[in-house]
Amino acid sequence: MKKELCQVVSNQSIADSIYELTLSGSMVEEMKPGQFVHVKVSSGLDPMLRRPISIASIHKEKSEFTIIYRKQGRGTSLLAEKKPGEFVDILGPLGNGFPVEEASVGSTAILVGGGIGVPPLYELAKQLVKKGIKVITILGFQNESAVFYESKFAEFSETYIATVDGSYGTKGFVTDVLSTKNIGGDILYSCGPTPMLRAIEASSYAPKVYLSLEERMGCGIGACFACVCHVKDDPDGHAYKKVCSDGPVFRAGEVAI
């Protein structure tokens, strides 16, 4: 973990309101799939807090990494205005990523992403495939114009798309794809909206399941207790996990979602 001014290599729109930003910095050395960075989008007060964004891909050879974000509120809107050559204040890498080591060579991994939960799965997919693991990817989006990275995943994995309005791929949710196509595997990794993660946790598409959670954050490093969740065994007790530093990735069943 370090704080570094990372330089913008490129920053472009890749789907409706979705931007892909590549940055260069020495913190790339330490990065793992599923970790995130905490981004200060402007040097002043407006906005004040950092924004947590997942690491979408890591290019160690070039000391570059890519994040993908949806232009939404003030922070991400300002981020979308950054031009190549400018610097962005980044704190990272933060959190514990997806455990690649839990997938054994020759096994099948299912990756399930929804909306802006898709990005962290991309680096994960790359690393799994490199290790010799078969990857099946199911990605869910609102509609056709929101779809991104399909062809990137398709390069090395069996890839299915679901859209809520049916304008592209299967109509419905990622879980509809999982059920109708009867997809199974040895391990499942997922990131996306909480209802999607709950549905996945409630089913049994794979014996091992890892989920990446989101929560509003303050510090991003475990000091402020903003991002705490209950542990599953003790849902009303005082045991807790911090999404920022214990997560964002948890084994299904570890925390209450």
Binding site: M48, L91, E215, M217, A223, F225, A226, V228, C229, S245
Partner: protein, 313 residues
């Protein structure tokens, strides 16, 4: 750095800069980023007798120039703080300020009695101003008599000086300050957060699940300065100031208002290196402004017959 040392009841500070309670945990996380030994002190997270989970999430929301939090005093409880968190901090050469919280008088007394015996705890900060818990907290901080009584009881059992943390959510902060001074407080810390709220545009519901939360950050700086200015002229005990501090310039402004040391809260989240940066920049700033020592700045906005040093030069 000799120009930065400050002596306060219980606290020999090499510099008057410390992280504010609740914004730095018990130091472990930030110790991965810099050597905690450079700090003047650490105000550690509030401790209650039993462990607390706190409020449901979302617990934070951003506001213009500030943020709301409703953590709800989550902490591992007195036992664990005394046997694990504080001992871990012993490896640093730091006088710790322990933040004492609870729901009842007995809670405060129990925590204060035990935690004040920890070897590295050199002062207590009595948190009678947390706006995010249903019982205790701010109730003690808005009633002068309750505040005075509680201070007395805590003083009676504490082995170290007691600073009382004041709430800004009151009509007359001087009255509360004088009451806790009369109750035996050795110092004041101020301000805690202002009660605020944000509502989500789409759901029409408050963003925080606690609905309201405590406003901190740069937005509250002028309120903090005004209250320190008013109180410091009316009490004879020192004030550790806080509320929106972001820079060495802000630190001087708090000293001018009447603070004798300061704490940095929210800005740690924005820039985890804010404390080391301020500590590094202060000596040059003091020199530029013509002061030999940071203590020359205390209360300078209201002290009579004291020309700024650069006027004397």
């Amino acid at each position: 750095m000799r120009s930065l040392s400050i002596e306060l009841p219980g606290l020999s500070l090499k510099n008057p800069i410390m992280p504010a309670s609740g914004c730095f945990g018990f130091g472990k996380e930030y110790s991965q980023l810099f050597d905690l030994n450079i700090l003047g002190s650490i105000m550690v997270k509030a401790t209650t007798p039993e462990p607390r989970f706190g409020n449901p999430t979302p617990r934070v929301a951003e506001t213009p120039g500030g943020m709301l939090n409703a953590i709800g005093l989550q902490n591992p409880g007195l036992e664990k703080v005394v046997t694990e968190e504080l001992p871990w901090l012993e490896k640093f050469n730091l006088p710790i300020i322990a933040n004492v919280a609870g729901s009842t008088e007995e809670d405060y007394v129990r925590v204060a009695e035990r935690i004040s015996k920890a070897p590295n705890v050199h002062a207590l900060e009595l948190n009678i101003s947390c706006p995010n818990v249903k019982t205790g907290g701010i109730a003690f901080g808005t009633d002068p008599e309750m505040a005075k009584d509680l201070t007395k009881k805590v003083k009676a059992v504490s082995d170290v000086p007691v600073y009382v943390k004041l709430s800004p959510n009151v009509t007359d902060i001087v009255k509360i300050a004088k009451a806790v001074e009369a109750g035996g407080a050795d110092g004041l810390t101020m301000i805690n957060t202002l009660v605020g709220m944000r509502i989500d545009l789409h759901s029409a519901q408050p963003i925080l699940s606690n609905r309201t939360g405590g406003l901190s950050g740069a937005a509250i700086k002028p309120v903090a300065l005004r209250m320190i200015y008013e109180v410091s002229q009316q009490v004879d005990i020192p004030i550790i100031g806080m509320g929106g501090i972001q820079s060495a310039e802000d630190v001087i402004e708090f000293f001018y208002a009447g603070a004798s040391a300061v704490a940095v809260g929210t800005q740690n989240f924005v820039d985890p290196f804010v404390c080391p940066t301020i500590i590094q920049e202060l000596p040059a700033l003091l020199e530029k402004l013509g002061y030999d020592h940071i203590s020359d700045c205390i209360g300078r906005s209201w002290k009579k017959n004291e020309q700024p040093a650069y006027h004397r030069a």
